[in-house]
C-alpha cells in the first residue's frame, strides 16, 4: 500500500468540481510530479489531500488510513506541505521559521525538547542553511527562503510531502539546487513526494513518475517521465508546438553535484534586475512589432528569459490565452518568438474598435466596457497602476522585457498623459530604439523630426536609431546615415533590410486585404465589415500556388475554389450585410453547385437557419441565416472562451478525408448553436465550426488543399506544407538571423546595461 492512495477522488471549490475520479498512488521514497496547464487543478488536488479543502467525493488514504477519520494531529505527523506563498514573517529568524514545523511535537507555547532541537539542527544542516540560522527570514534571497521552507516541512518528520510549485520564484541555479536537496532527502528519508511543477525539464529530470492533468480537468496520463514527456504529448497538453519546447535542451540534474549542497553564493537582486529595451516608431507600420519579435528571438537564442510588452494595443482581432483571457495578437506572436507562453500581462490593455469613434476596452484580458475615444483619453491615466502591476509581474519572471511603443511618440496633441510610448519608457527607464521606415520615404525627416518634437528628458532616452525596410545598395545610404548621426546626435544602430517573413503582423493586414493575387487554387474569405480573427487563414499562405483573397463583392466569389465565411464581431449586422450585398443568393447557388463552403465561428452561425438575440447582446432581434446548415443560434451575454483540441469525428462531403484528423484551436464567441456541441457541422459540402485556428494543424491544412487540388486537377506540392506552428518557428529563426546581420547587437546590449 502506498503512503498516499486516492480512490475516485473528486475535488473542487465551492462544490464546483475541478477534477474527477483521481486515482493516485504515491509510495515511500517516490517522487511524483503533477504537470498540466494553469488552472487545471494541480493546486486544488494538493490542497484537498492536505485537508485544506473539503473533497467532493471519493477517498484519500494516508498511510493506509482514511483521511476523513484520521485526527488532525496524527495527520500533521504524517504529512507536511510547502505551498506557494509569499509572506513576510517579521522578526523571525530562519531557525525560528524552521522550528515552527515541529508544531505537532512541541509542548506548551511551542516549546521544543532537546530532541526537537536536534532534529531542527540536523535538517538545517541537510538543507544547507545552517549558516543562516540567525539571519532574519525576510532578509535572505528567494532561493534561501525556499530552502528554509523546505526545512520547515521536513522537521515535521513527514512520510509524505506535498509541494506546490516550489521552484516558481527561483532562477535556474536555485531551481536545480532545490531539486537536488529534495530528491536526495526523498530517497534518504524514504519520504513520498507529490509536487506540482511548471518546469517540464525539471520534472523530467527528478520525477519517478509524472501525472499529467489536462485542460479539460482530468488526470490524463500517469507514467515515467520518459514515457510521458514527449514532444508531441506536451505540445498537446499545453498547446505549445514543436520547436518551442525541447526536452533535450532542458538541463540534466546529472550536471550538478548532488552530493554536496552548494552554499549560497549571494547574487544580489540588483544584478538580477530585469533589463528593458523599448522599440518606438516614427509612424504606424514602421515595423515595430516585427523588430520586437526579432529582438525577442535573439535574446532567447542568447539564453535570456524574454517577454514582449506593449501597454496598450488597438486591434480588431485578439488572442485567447489558456486562462481564457484576451490579448493582442502581436504580443502573442512576439511571445512565440521569445519561446514563452503568451500572458495577458504582456498586453494589459486592448482596445477593439467598434466603430469610428469608440472601442471595446479590455483590461487584463477581460472586457471592461465600451468607451468613446474622448472618454478613454480621460480615463487612461487611471490605468497606470494596471500597467505597473503587469510590468512587476513580468519583472519577477523575466530577464529582459522588450517593450513596443504604439504609433509615434511625437503625436503632440496626445502626448499628455502618454501611457504607451515615452510614458512607459520613463516609467521603466528603458533605452529606446527609434525606427523609421525608409520604404515610405522621408526617413531622415521622420527620425530627426520625431526627435525634435520630443522633450529634453525624452530625447535622452532615445539611445539608437534604426532605418527599416531598406532595399538596394547600402553604400548609397552611408553618407546620409553619417549626417543623421551627426544631426540627431544619436547613433544609428541598424539598417534593416526589407524582411520577407510571414508572421502575423497587425500592420500587414491592410496589405493582405488588398491582394488580388490569383493562384492555382483560390480561397475566398468574405471580408465582412466586422471581420475578426482573420489570422485563421494564414496557414495557406505558405503555399505559393494557393491564393487567399478577401472579397467584398459577391461576384468575386465565382473564381473561388473554397469560400470561407470568417468570424465576426457583430454576427447579426454582418448577416444582414451578406444579404444586402447579394452574398446570400450567390452562396446558396454555390452550395447547389457543390462548391465547398466553410464557416468559422460567426460565419458558422450565419450558415444556420436563424440567429436570435433575445438578450440584446448585439442589439437584439432575430435574423434569418443562410440556411445552408440546419442549426439555429441564440446569442447570449456570456462569452465562451476556451482552448480546444482533439480528433475530428467522421464527416461527409468533399472533405470527408479529414475524418479522424487531429485539430487544435480555440473558441471565443457569444452564443450557442443547437448542434449537439459537434466540433464540426456538415451538410453536403458546407462545413461549420466554432474553432478558430482550425486550419493551423498540418493534417487539416494539407487535407483541404489536397482535396481542392484533386477536384480542380492541379498539382500542388503540399509536402512542404508545415504545421503552421512549425512554419512560424522557422520564420522566427529567419527573422532573428536577418536582424543579427544588420543590427549592432553589442551596442544594444550595452545600452541595456548587459555585459556579455
Amino acid at each position: 500500500m502506498g503512503i498516499i492512495e486516492t480512490e475516485k477522488l473528486n475535488i473542487g471549490y465551492n462544490k464546483i468540481p475541478v477534477l474527477k475520479d483521481v486515482d493516485l498512488h504515491v509510495s515511500q521514497g517516490e517522487l511524483i510530479t503533477l504537470v498540466g496547464p494553469n488552472g487545471s487543478g494541480k493546486t486544488t488536488l494538493l490542497k484537498t489531500i492536505a485537508s485544506m479543502l473539503a473533497k467532493l467525493g471519493g477517498t484519500v488514504y494516508v498511510a493506509g488510513k482514511d483521511l476523513t477519520t484520521l485526527p488532525d494531529k496524527d495527520r500533521a505527523k504524517l504529512m507536511s506541505v510547502m505551498l506557494t506563498e509569499k509572506r513576510e514573517y517579521d522578526y523571525y529568524t530562519c531557525e525560528d521559521v524552521v522550528r515552527v514545523g515541529r508544531y505537532p511535537y512541541s509542548g506548551f507555547g511551542g516549546r521544543l525538547s532537546q530532541n526537537d532541537i536536534r532534529i531542527v539542527q540536523e535538517v538545517m544542516e541537510l538543507t544547507g542553511i545552517s549558516q543562516l540560522r540567525d539571519r532574519a527570514f525576510d532578509k535572505i534571497s528567494d532561493g534561501q527562503r525556499q530552502r528554509v521552507l523546505l526545512a520547515r516541512a521536513l522537521v515535521q518528520e513527514p512520510e509524505i510531502m506535498l509541494l506546490d510549485e516550489p521552484t516558481s520564484f527561483l532562477d535556474v541555479g536555485y531551481k536545480l539546487e532545490f531539486m537536488n536537496v529534495l530528491k536526495k532527502l526523498c530517497r534518504e528519508k524514504k519520504i513520498g513526494v507529490l509536487m506540482s511543477l511548471h518546469e517540464l525539464d525539471l520534472a523530467a529530470a527528478v520525477s519517478d513518475r509524472v501525472v499529467t492533468i489536462s485542460e479539460d480537468n482530468r488526470v490524463d496520463r500517469i507514467g515515467s517521465p520518459k514515457e510521458i514527456l514527449t514532444k508531441e504529448y506536451i505540445g498537446k497538453l499545453f498547446h505549445i508546438h514543436q520547436g518551442s519546447y525541447s526536452l533535450e535542451e532542458g538541463f540534466s540534474l546529472a550536471a550538478v553535484n548532488t552530493e554536496k549542497m552548494p552554499q549560497d553564493n549571494g547574487v544580489s537582486r540588483e544584478e538580477r534586475k530585469t533589463k528593458y529595451i523599448m522599440v518606438q516608431g516614427t509612424m504606424s507600420g514602421a515595423g515595430k512589432s516585427l523588430l520586437v519579435a526579432g529582438l525577442c528571438r535573439i535574446f532567447k537564442q542568447d539564453g535570456y528569459r524574454v517577454a514582449p510588452f506593449k501597454s496598450q494595443n488597438m486591434a480588431l482581432n485578439s488572442f485567447v490565452t489558456e486562462d481564457g483571457l484576451e490579448m493582442g495578437r502581436a504580443q502573442v506572436m512576439q511571445a512565440e518568438a521569445a519561446g514563452v507562453r503568451p500572458d495577458v500581462h504582456m498586453n494589459p490593455i486592448l482596445l477593439k474598435p467598434t466603430d469610428d469613434k469608440g472601442s471595446q476596452v479590455i483590461i487584463n484580458g477581460k472586457v471592461h466596457g465600451n468607451m468613446r475615444a474622448k472618454e478613454y483619453f480621460a480615463y487612461k491615466t487611471s490605468l497606470i497602476p494596471t500597467i505597473r502591476e503587469a510590468l512587476d509581474y513580468l519583472e519577477e519572471r523575466y530577464d529582459i522585457i522588450v517593450v513596443e511603443g504604439a504609433g509615434s511618440p511625437a503625436e503632440i496633441n496626445l502626448k499628455q498623459n502618454d501611457i504607451v510610448n515615452m510614458g512607459i519608457a520613463k516609467m521603466t527607464n528603458a533605452p529606446v530604439l527609434l525606427v523609421g521606415d525608409i520604404d515610405r520615404g522621408g526617413v531622415f525627416a521622420q527620425l530627426l523630426g520625431t526627435i525634435m518634437l520630443l522633450e529634453e528628458d525624452e530625447k535622452r532616452l532615445v539611445k539608437g536609431l534604426v532605418v527599416n525596410k531598406f532595399r538596394g545598395d547600402k553604400t548609397i545610404l552611408d553618407p546620409g546615415i553619417a549626417m543623421l548621426e551627426e544631426q540627431g546626435n544619436i547613433p544609428v544602430v541598424g539598417l534593416l533590410p526589407y524582411m520577407d517573413v510571414q508572421l502575423e503582423d497587425e500592420d500587414s493586414l491592410s496589405e493582405r486585404f488588398e491582394s488580388r493575387k490569383q493562384g492555382l487554387i483560390n480561397i475566398a474569405v468574405i471580408k465582412l465589415p466586422h471581420i475578426s480573427n482573420f489570422t485563421d487563414y494564414d496557414v495557406f499562405e505558405q503555399l505559393p500556388e494557393v491564393a487567399v483573397c478577401y472579397v467584398k463583392k459577391s461576384r468575386d466569389l465565382e473564381n473561388a475554389d473554397l469560400v470561407i465565411i470568417p468570424g465576426s464581431k457583430n454576427t447579426i449586422a454582418d448577416m444582414k450585410w451578406l444579404r444586402e450585398n447579394g452574398f446570400a443568393a450567390v452562396l446558396q447557388k454555390l452550395e447547389q453547385d457543390g462548391k465547398p463552403i466553410f464557416g468559422i465561428c460567426g460565419g458558422y452561425q450565419m450558415l444556420g437557419v436563424t440567429i436570435e438575440d433575445p438578450d440584446g447582446v448585439e442589439g437584439g432581434g432575430c435574423v434569418e441565416g443562410l440556411g445552408l446548415l440546419e442549426h439555429t443560434t441564440i446569442l447570449q451575454g456570456e462569452k465562451c472562451r476556451r482552448q480546444v483540441e482533439g480528433k475530428l469525428p467522421v464527416i461527409g462531403g468533399c472533405f470527408g478525408g479529414l475524418s479522424g484528423q487531429n485539430y487544435y484551436g480555440y473558441e471565443i464567441h457569444m452564443g450557442k448553436s443547437n448542434d449537439q456541441g459537434k466540433v464540426i457541422n456538415q451538410k453536403n459540402n458546407v462545413y461549420g465550426t466554432y474553432v478558430h485556428g482550425f486550419f493551423d494543424s498540418e493534417e487539416i491544412a494539407r487535407g483541404i488543399v489536397d482535396t481542392l487540388a484533386k477536384e480542380k486537377k492541379v498539382t500542388i506540392h503540399t509536402e512542404d506544407l508545415m504545421d503552421y506552428q512549425t512554419f512560424k518557428q522557422q520564420e522566427y529563426e529567419k527573422l532573428a538571423s536577418l536582424m543579427r546581420e544588420s543590427l549592432d547587437m553589442n551596442q544594444i546590449y550595452e545600452m541595456m546595461g548587459i555585459r556579455r
Binding site: 492536505a50 485537508s51 488532525d72 505527523k77 525560528d96 521559521v97 514545523g101 512541541s106 506548551f108 507555547g109
Partner: protein
C-alpha cells in the same frame, strides 16, 4: 533567551515604579515613605485618597491597559495586519455607542447600572462591529481598506454617541462626556473586582492559544497542515479579543492607540513576534503605557484632567507612523 528574560525583568521594575508614582503623585503629593504608614492608618484623608481613589485607578490603568494591548495583538494576529487594533477597527467605538445608549436610557428610566450590564452592553457593541469588520475582511483582502472601513465605522459610532449625549438630560452629560472621551477616573473597588479577573482570564486563554497563534501567523492554510482546527481557532481568537476590548471600553471608554502601538513596540524591543513572548510583553507594556499616560493625563493640566486618549495618541500615533514608514521601506 537570557536577554529576553532581562528585558522582562526591566519591564516589571518599570511597571512597579509607575504604580508607585501613580499612587504618590497627584493634586496632593504623598511622599513614598509615608505611603505604607498611611495605609496602616486608614482613617486619614491621605489614606482615603490612596485607598479609594488612587489605588483602584492605578490597578484599573494597569489591567485595562494590559488587556487593551493584548486585544490589539490578538486582532493583529487574526487579521495578519500589523495596524489592526480595537480602536482603529471601530470595535471600541461600537462598544462605546451601545454603552452610551444604555447609560442614557438607564438614567432616564432611573435604573442603576451595574458593571455587569455595562460590560454586556460593551460586548454587544464590540461584537456588532467585529462581525461587520469580519464581513468586510472576507470580501476584501486589502489591509488598508479594512482599516479605513474600521476607522469609518468608528466615526459613525462616535457621531451617533455624540448625538445621543447632546440629546440626554444635563445630569448625565458630565459623566458620560468624560467617559466617552476615555478616562480611568472614577474607578472603584467594585469595578476592580470585575476588571482584574476578566483580564487575567483573557491573558490565560491567550497563553493557552499561544502555540496555535504562532502556527497561524504563518498562514491559515499552513496552520491547517500542522493539524490546527483553524475555523474554531479563529472564532475563539476573535471572541477573546472582543471581550477584552469590551471590558476596557465598558470601564474606561475608548482608549486609542494602545492596541496598535504597544504590541509593535514590544516586537521591536524583543525583536520577536513569538506569541509566547509578545502576549505577556504586550500585557506588561500596555500596563506601563497606560500608567504613564494616566499619570500625565492627571498631572499635566492639574487640577483639570486630560482624557486618556489625548495622551495615548500623542505617544502612540508617532509609533504607528514610524512603523508604517519602516514597512514601506522594505
Amino acid at each position: 533567551m537570557k536577554k529576553k528574560a532581562g528585558i522582562f525583568f526591566l519591564l516589571t521594575i518599570l511597571l512597579l515604579l509607575l504604580v508607585l508614582a501613580n499612587i504618590c503623585i497627584g493634586s496632593i503629593k504623598i511622599p513614598l515613605q509615608d505611603v505604607f504608614h498611611i495605609l496602616s492608618v486608614k482613617e486619614s484623608d491621605a489614606g482615603k485618597i490612596i485607598l479609594q481613589i488612587r489605588l483602584p485607578r492605578t490597578i484599573a490603568a494597569l489591567f485595562l491597559g494590559g488587556g487593551l494591548a493584548l486585544s490589539g495583538y490578538l486582532l493583529q494576529t487574526f487579521f495578519h495586519n500589523p495596524i489592526a487594533g480595537p480602536f482603529v477597527l471601530g470595535i471600541s467605538s461600537g462598544a462605546k455607542l451601545v454603552v452610551a445608549l444604555l447609560m442614557v436610557y438607564a438614567a432616564q428610566a432611573g435604573i442603576y447600572l451595574g458593571s455587569g450590564m455595562m460590560i454586556f452592553a460593551a460586548l454587544v457593541g464590540a461584537l456588532l462591529v467585529t462581525v461587520f469588520v469580519l464581513l468586510v475582511s472576507s470580501k476584501i483582502r486589502n489591509m488598508s481598506i479594512l482599516i479605513v472601513c474600521g476607522v469609518m465605522v468608528g466615526y459613525i459610532c462616535s457621531a451617533i454617541t455624540e448625538f445621543v449625549i447632546s440629546k440626554a438630560d444635563d445630569a448625565n452629560i458630565v459623566n458620560l462626556h468624560s467617559w466617552s472621551m476615555g478616562s480611568f477616573s472614577g474607578t472603584d473597588w467594585q469595578d476592580i473586582y470585575v476588571i482584574v479577573p476578566a483580564v487575567l482570564i483573557g491573558l490565560v486563554v491567550a497563553f493557552v492559544l499561544s502555540k496555535r497563534m504562532e502556527a497561524y501567523l504563518f498562514g491559515e492554510e499552513y496552520a491547517v497542515s500542522l493539524g490546527i482546527h483553524v475555523k474554531a481557532f479563529r472564532v475563539v481568537l476573535i471572541l477573546l479579543s472582543s471581550i477584552l476590548s469590551a471590558v476596557v471600553t465598558a470601564f474606561a471608554g475608548p482608549v486609542s492607540f494602545v492596541g496598535i502601538a504597544v504590541p509593535h513596540i514590544m516586537r521591536e524591543v524583543f525583536q520577536s513576534d513569538r506569541p509566547l513572548i509578545i502576549i505577556p510583553a504586550s500585557f506588561l507594556g500596555g500596563g506601563i503605557f497606560c500608567l504613564l499616560s494616566d499619570l500625565l493625563a492627571r498631572t499635566l493640566v492639574a487640577p483639570a484632567e486630560l482624557s486618556i486618549s489625548t495622551v495615548t495618541a500623542v505617544f502612540g500615533a508617532p509609533v504607528v507612523i514610524v512603523m508604517l514608514f519602516k514597512r514601506k521601506q522594505r
